[in-house]
């Protein structure tokens, strides 16, 4: 299709979309299905440089060649030909809240974004469908030289930084879903923290899936230059809809010498979403990476935040909590690859299965030969609330060096009857007692979350726990 014909087609689609009342006007909605032309269209619509288009097309070929993983959850129901790969609700990224289209603003009001945008939580950037539409930064951030924007703007304004790091941490060939994301990515966050800068407030990004059959393929790139610190927070909610949807993000983080990055995310996708995410960090000398990860929603989540410890004394932590209700499968965990001596890692995973829910911990600790003085500790605890619930633990420790300290413990059980009895003897109902024990169980992770996320997490778990007794 020639450019002129393509544009004409889009103009028609746009006109059609505008005629439908009470709907978000999608300026461009790629037709369902994926072929090289769709990939080129996405790149064309975004006016991307040739090198990015080439990366996308190469990744598309990789995606076609790679097999779907046979381990983990059941992925057989994903129909790649029924998904839409690109959608853009508004033509340009709004810099002022008032410029954001009203129907999108209403949706955000329901999500409570303005309340979240308080004194300490300034850098709010919201994502609706596939692209960031609202994004605000305080002047002092700009003065510090911190770049916090959506990925598309990042690519347009800072192509040299993006070109240098894009796909270096998670290459397209890493797995099928990383390849898919690389070929059709859209939106996500781009965060650059210059040397020695400490960002004292958490940076937040809200995003959500809204229309039926929309795949979300964000691409997030975070670069923390030597000695810097940043806390990035990402949370998402999605409304309920019928047919299965796919969320496949890639998050790449580079922690330079002595820098520290904390990445907090709580996902609460609708219970028909496949959430297949590749998250990885390269941590250089004396750097610290902390993943705090909450998984509550989705039909199936497969997510293993990883730390590659590449410099002496680098440190990586993964804290994760998962809740699987009826029909859900949370296959989560963490990986630590000790690629340098004297590196240390901690992975703490807590999971709760209720009804027919299934939680799995899948992890990997690797110490190659010669990496002396490495330390790693992995703890996974699982609670089973119903006779139909299921919990699995699949950790792997591959140690090729003798001068190390590696520990792992896991336990699976149910809420202790003595605990329930004690609380009930103090006048709590069985329901309240159960909720309290579960809250206590996830407390070590909840306390690491920003306060409003911790509250939200506790509230969501309380909601999920309703009707779990008797």
């Amino acid at each position: 299709m020639s450019d002129a014909a393509t544009l004409k087609k889009f103009a028609n689609e746009e006109k059609l979309a505008r005629e439908k009342p009470d709907r978000v006007h999608y300026l461009h909605a790629a037709k369902p299905g994926l072929d090289p032309r769709t990939v080129e269209e996405i790149s064309y619509m975004k006016k991307e440089p040739q090198w990015m288009r080439d990366i996308r097309l190469r990744a598309y070929q990789t995606f076609r060649q790679k097999h779907t993983p046979t381990w983990g959850g059941d992925l057989s129901e994903i129909d790649y030909d029924r998904l839409r790969y690109y959608m853009r609700p508004t033509d340009k990224v709004a810099s002022d809240w008032k410029d954001v289209p009203s129907e999108i603003r209403q949706t955000y009001d329901r999500l409570g974004i303005p309340q979240a945008e308080q004194k300490y939580l300034t850098g709010v950037m919201a994502q609706y469908e596939s692209e960031a539409v609202y994004h605000s930064l305080q002047d002092k951030m700009e003065k510090l030289g911190v770049i916090f924007t959506d990925m598309d703007t990042g690519l347009r304004k800072y192509p040299e930084i993006v070109k240098k790091y894009f796909g270096t941490v998670v290459p397209a060939g890493d797995n099928k879903f990383a390849a898919l994301n690389t070929s059709v990515w859209s939106g996500g966050s781009f965060l650059y923290v210059p040397e020695g800068v400490h960002v004292t407030f958490p940076l937040q990004a809200y995003f959500r899936i809204n229309a039926q059959n929309v795949g979300q393929f964000e691409r997030t790139l975070i670069i923390a230059e030597p000695g810097s610190f940043v806390h990035y927070v990402e949370g998402c909610t999605a409304p309920q809809y019928v047919s299965s949807s796919l969320h496949s993000a890639v998050v790449e983080i580079i922690v330079q010498k002595g820098a520290r990055v904390r990445y907090t995310t709580v996902q609460n996708w609708a219970k028909n979403v496949y959430n297949l995410v590749t998250k990885r960090t390269f941590v250089h000398e004396e750097g610290t990476m902390e993943w705090v990860d909450g998984n509550l929603g989705s039909k199936l989540t497969m997510k293993y935040p990883s730390v590659f410890l590449l410099g002496r004394k680098a440190r990586g932590d993964v804290l994760s909590v998962a809740f699987a209700g009826d029909g859900q499968h949370q296959d989560a965990g963490g990986k630590a690859i000790h690629g340098a001596p004297e590196t240390s890692s901690t992975i703490i995973s807590k999971s709760i299965s209720k009804g027919t829910g299934r939680t799995s911990y899948r992890g990997m600790v690797k110490v190659p030969k010669g990496m002396k003085g490495c330390k790693s500790n992995v703890v996974c605890d699982a609670l089973l609330l119903d006779p139909k619930s299921r919990s699995d633990t699949y950790p792997t420790m591959d140690i090729k060096e003798s001068d190390v300290h590696i520990g792992h413990e896991a336990s699976v059980g149910k809420v202790g009857e003595e605990q329930l009895f004690y609380l009930m003897s103090r006048g709590l109902s069985e329901q309240e007692a159960m909720s309290m024990v579960v809250s206590g169980f996830i407390e070590p992770i909840a306390k690491e979350l920003p306060i409003e996320y911790a509250t939200e997490l506790n509230r969501l778990i309380e909601l999920e726990m309703e009707g779990s007794v008797g």
Partner: protein, 206 residues
């Protein structure tokens, strides 16, 4: 082979055992092989081994088939030079109120390798079961080890846990022994022997 009386026996090659209800049996494993042991109602089995061979490839599958069945596996491994040991254990809880306890201790010196996979599987029919898996590895010189303890739990009123450690000899312990006039090789031997002592104790009791 069906065991219908209290006994103690030694298995040297791949074999299938079925332990009748209520019997108490001690099994000592020798060498490589595929061992399948099914434990009947309220029967108890104690499986023991101490492996020092240059190569050993074992797969031990324990089925706790009858209510109240109990099994323990106590295994010590000592690897030198190019030794390579591989052990797959499955503790499969199929019936109510069954208990399992696995203890593996391995020492790998020189260029030796140990690979340990342990699966605790609790079926939906095996409520009130309790299972534990522990593997402790001591690495010396250029020894290598892989541990894959896994859990698959489908019943809720159960306890299942595992613990796994991999480390080298604590420098403080070595220093203490040497400050008492003990030379390095002897000190290392003492610590290694101490590490494996719980296994020797159980073996001697047979």
């Amino acid at each position: 082979m069906k065991i219908t009386k209290d006994t103690s026996l030694e298995l040297q090659k791949s074999s299938k055992l079925e332990i009748a209800a209520g019997k108490q049996v001690t099994v000592v494993l020798k060498g490589s092989g595929n061992f399948q042991i099914s434990v009947g109602r309220r029967a108890q089995v104690q499986i023991l081994e101490m492996v020092k061979d240059p190569t050993c490839q074992q797969s031990v599958s324990i089925a706790l088939a009858g209510a109240g069945a109990h099994a323990t596996l106590t295994a010590g491994f000592l690897g030198h030079e190019q030794a390579r040991h591989e052990l797959d254990v499955i503790m499969h809880h199929q019936a109510r109120a069954t208990t399992g306890d696995i203890l593996i201790k391995g020492v790998y010196a020189d260029q030796s390798t140990g690979i340990f996979r342990g699966l605790i599987k609790i079926d939906r029919t095996a409520q009130q079961s309790n299972s534990y898996f522990a593997d402790n590895i001591l690495l010396l010189d250029e020894g290598k080890a892989t541990s894959e303890p896994t859990l698959e739990i489908e019943a809720d009123d159960v306890k299942a846990s595992h613990g796994s450690t991999t480390s080298s000899i604590d420098a403080d312990q070595l220093f203490y022994l040497r400050s008492r006039g003990i030379d390095l090789p002897t000190a290392r031997d003492m610590i290694t022997t101490g590490f494996l002592q719980p296994i020797f104790n159980r073996l001697q009791a047979v």
